[in-house]
Symmetry: C2
Subunit: 413 residues, 2 copies
């Protein structure tokens, strides 16, 4: 089917979401079917606002830089469409835009919420009798999308975390003065990212204790354990997920505020803050250690300089596979990755198709049987290790990375 396509990016940035964009854009441009490749600025909002750019008019050099450029080159949004069955106003607007540019293909790169968007767009267009093939491309550092072995974006974030934990360990243990360091890692509900810190402990030196949000966190038991480990080992490094919570499901930071046992500053006042700061503050009172809290913050999701080549390649493959699926007539699908074995018996992956309705809004967490008390089993290591392999040849100028900079040429009818 001849027609234009719209590609959008949505949700939090990753180091490789633009590699997926690259894979999709190249496949679309080479398809012979897709007459024009439009980019939605800031995701679905760009479609609603008729804020579309013509990717065919961007410089080839900038397109070629996409696989090495972190964050979303088209801009992103966090925007949830209403249900088309009860509130169709936005969908009528989308249809109007699709008709205006003769859009017959819609590709959307994102996580759970983005797959929800895809599912709704697909359902509405179908109901409206407007032929448009909708395929989602998975992306999330959180690795929590259902139906896929893992998500593009995760491997690179996991690699940055593992390498940084190895380096931080070396730094923390350098003095004869003993230290406690608490590193806070992203992931509200899924602990895949925090778990990747275990790679440092497995293959070098890394955290002594690791806590994911998949299990309940008992603050008092943690403090006793941490003090004991610190005394035993002469130092302590802890990796903790931002989402750790008590048995009632309450975040530990909130629990501490509520019990009045919270994070208190030099003036005795209760403080709000991240969980690493809270734990550090409590351990400072219980030990003679130099205690430090570190938040990996945005660095863990945008560190393209330490991206995994496997992740970049898979992200690109997922983008290309989405275009191929649509050209083959599929719609209402998300591309997933399936783990398989290569000719040498090693790791390989292939793209698969998953019904959007089965993965939208679902959440995949770390299996309970991979989680020990304060640690992670080798099953997790076997799972994650292939995903962090390889480093790309990155384009460098003046000793610094070169990133895509689009001219953002507005699409004409």
């Amino acid at each position: 089917m001849k027609g234009s396509c719209i590609i959008g990016q949505s949700g939090g940035p990753t180091a490789v979401i633009n590699a997926s964009l690259y894979g999709a854009v190249k496949a679309a441009m080479e398809s012979g079917q897709i007459t024009r490749v439009l980019g939605a600025r800031h995701g679905i909002k760009g479609v609603l606002n008729d804020d579309l750019i013509d990717l065919n008019k961007e410089d080839a050099e900038q397109i070629e830089l996409l696989p090495f450029t972190p964050s979303s080159a088209l801009g992103s949004c966090r925007y949830k469409l209403k249900d088309p069955d009860s509130n169709s106003a936005e969908f009528e607007k989308l249809l109007e835009i699709f008709k205006k540019y003769d859009v017959r293909y819609f590709f959307y790169i994102g996580g759970n919420d983005s797959m929800d968007t895809c599912e709704k767009v697909s359902r509405y267009m179908d109901k409206a009798g407007y032929e448009c093939r909708v395929v989602g491309i998975p992306k999330t550092i959180d690795n929590d999308l259902a139906g896929t072995d893992h998500c593009p974006g995760y491997g690179s974030a996991a690699k940055f975390i593992a390498v940084s934990m190895m380096e931080i360990y070396k730094d923390c243990r350098v003095y004869d003065k003993r230290t406690i360091t608490i590193v806070e890692i992203m992931g509200r509900n899924a602990g895949w990212l925090t778990a990747s810190a275990a790679l440092a402990s497995k293959f070098g030196d890394g955290p002594d204790l690791i806590y994911l949000p998949e299990t309940d966190f008992d603050l008092s038991a943690f403090l006793d354990r941490a003090v004991a480990e610190y005394e035993k080992q002469g130092g302590l490094l802890v990796a903790v997920s931002e989402g750790v919570h008590n048995a009632k499901g309450q975040l530990i930071v909130e629990e501490s505020l509520e019990t009045g046992d919270g994070f208190v500053d030099a003036f005795g006042h209760v403080q709000l803050g991240g969980v690493a700061s809270l734990l550090a503050s409590k351990l400072q009172k219980r030990t003679d250690a130099k205690v430090r809290a570190i938040e990996l913050s945005l660095l863990q999701r945008c560190a393209a300089h330490n991206a995994s080549l496997t992740d970049i390649t898979e992200a690109q493959n997922a983008g290309a596979a989405a275009v191929k699926a649509a050209l083959d007539g599929f719609t209402g699908k998300m591309i997933g990755l399936e783990r398989c074995v290569n000719a040498e018996g090693g790791y390989a992956s292939r793209t698969i198709m998953i019904d959007l309705s089965s993965c939208a809004n679902a959440e995949r967490t770390v299996p309970q049987e991979w989680i020990t008390d304060g640690g992670i089993t080798d099953e997790f290591i076997d799972y994650v290790l292939p995903l962090i392999q390889g480093s790309p040849e990155r384009p460098i100028e003046n000793g610094l990375p070169k990133f895509t900079k689009f001219r953002n040429i507005k699409a004409q009818i």
Copy 2:
């Protein structure tokens, strides 16, 4: 002169302090004069405590990994010796250890305080009539040592900061919802590290405003300026040194506490915290932006995975030059780096010797004429750019870096 040598590392870790250790160890082992290479565990404290390891007995493979291993492989300390003229007890102990192992060479890798240690040891041994050649090897991410064009350790930290700022910029500008991000960078008195964030702005996209501790910081003027820039640009990224202070020399965080105008949490209570958190909190009240504070923390000084090859090479050269200087009969010197021009007219550096007495405890800051209101001139860019060039071939196993792990075999007499 035949005899043993002791090598020690002191002060804060860097990504390349072990490259200097490597340069010195290799030169010493190949000298034909230095009969044994001893490593002091945790710097001068290791000498005082007779905690020395025999580096000749460590595996060659572990020695070869040194240039790529962050932090101090021998361990470090922050320990200031008393003045030998008024209090010689510790120096008598040092002399006893030197005699015990027939130590005729002492090499110490570190910053200002470490050069003070070198100077005192050199002076005491001279006075005691014990022939021992003492040479200091410069190291500091802060780049504040006097007498040298720049310091090993700085280039790699500057590179990590520049690359991270480019990546953070991409992340911050991804949403249509506008953001303000404040990044806090190390450097209490010298702004070299914070200034390196300007590389991102010069060669890609980076901070809109940069503040060093070399100039006074007016909190109220900053807030007005930041709000105006945010409104004008639709987003704001600020790099700020941890050491910014008001005209009275008071840290901004302390000033805010004192004026009662400080960092207040959800309960209205004054908070202690870093300067990035303070500025973020104040800007949150003045704008509708999503405001975030990021501390680069330990990552900026131990990120060997993004080290500069130029820095590694120069660190190694400085270590080797120290051994050569001592073998040539010099003592009471620190090795420095002098900038020169290579055959193609490009950047090169050579090692020089500086009197310890002229550099110990001195501090070199960013020249005032390189600092603008909220920014940095191109003279600084010209200065720093050569120092971040090149990436080494790092030893990788399982997709992760391989770091030196010494067996720490205790030195025998």
